[in-house]
Amino acid sequence: MNVDVLMEVWRSQDAAPLHDVNKTLLHLALRQDDAKRQKWRRIERWIIYAMSAGFVAGMVLCLVKPIYRYHADGVSGWDFAVPIVGAAAALLSGRAMYVRHRAQALREERFGESLRDQLNRSIAQLDYQATTLHRTFMLVLVLVAGICPIALLVALSRLNEKPFSDDGYMTVWLSLMCVYGVATGVWELRRQTRDVVLPHKRRLEALLKEVDAP
């Protein structure tokens, strides 16, 4: 059987397809997908609103507190400098995240529509995801390494002022919860990278090799 015959056999399905589609269910599936996407867009929007509101509230609190203290019992330069430097750092981090996200979007746009481009785009997305997870992991570690000693020193200084009471137990309990939360978060980030992102990337790279194979 030569190729022309094979092609003829193949095209016989156009006259008698092996399948058909239920149009009512198709309409339902499309609407379902659309509703799901819109729901996620709404959730994302509300998360951004909530984070922005939290950030603005934090900024206002940081700026109002020194003014309140100034009226109460005077204020040092540090009381103004610390929230301003903190707010500037937060704004710069936000800006850096936006620039990085935009650069990634532009990078993805440069790929075309072929299968090879699609694979390269997916690999670039996974690289970005892996880097973001790694950076989040490092940020959490740095924050914990920075905050924990300070929190511990504050807790110890308070414990020296009065006997170990309910406040002391609460401090220990909250510290343990914090360490547990951070450890769980870090474990989840590492698991995501190891079990989801990297195997997926390896499979796409194998497919890309298959495309490139002679």
Binding site: W10, R11, Q13, H19, N22, Q32, L115
Partner: protein, 168 residues
């Protein structure tokens, strides 16, 4: 693009070229539930792709491209389904199987041979059998024309060898 306009274009595409979707589904998924899932995934992607279609290629080429890209991406997603980490939300009964009247049994033989090929070669085989030129296949898959030629020759030899082996 307005939703009703997208629905109209998608309806026309589906009426004229649903055979492409069936072929891709049949070549990349082998169980009934998997075919339902992959078909749903492909129609959703084709539906969303209506906005991106600029008419730079023909509609069948565009649909094949979207369907093949989705099918290849779906295989790895299916790995997650099999490990039970992502629940399926398939609209059951979306894809129906036609009665076997009028079907050439050699079509199923062809699908069995195609199933034994690697993912990318499977795409090339489908496009070759549907009469796409080397240039069109190269554009869809992202290969050079000479590389497409090499792959097609290898696929043709494999198919001919299998057929000859079974006939003898």
């Amino acid at each position: 693009m307005h939703d009703s306009e997208r629905d109209r274009i998608f309806g026309e595409w589906l009426a004229g070229h649903k055979g492409i979707l069936f072929k891709v589904v049949h070549a990349y998924a082998f169980e009934h539930a998997d075919r339902q899932d992959l078909f749903q995934e492909i129609v959703i992607q084709v539906w969303h792709s209506v906005d991106a279609f600029r008419g730079e290629s023909s509609v069948p080429t565009w649909i094949y491209r979207v369907a093949l890209n989705t099918a290849i991406a779906w295989t790895r997603k299916e790995d997650r389904h099999q490990r039970g980490k992502q629940p399926l939300a398939v609209v059951e009964g979306l894809l129906t199987t036609s009665s076997s009247d009028g079907h050439d049994p050699r079509v199923e033989w062809l699908y069995r041979q195609i199933a034994q090929l690697k993912d990318v070669d499977r795409s090339v085989a489908l496009l070759m059998l549907d009469g796409f030129s080397y240039k069109e296949i190269a554009t869809i898959v992202g290969l050079t024309e000479s590389n497409v030629g090499v792959k097609i020759n290898r696929i043709k030899s494999a198919l001919a060898g299998k057929r000859a082996g079974e006939e003898s």
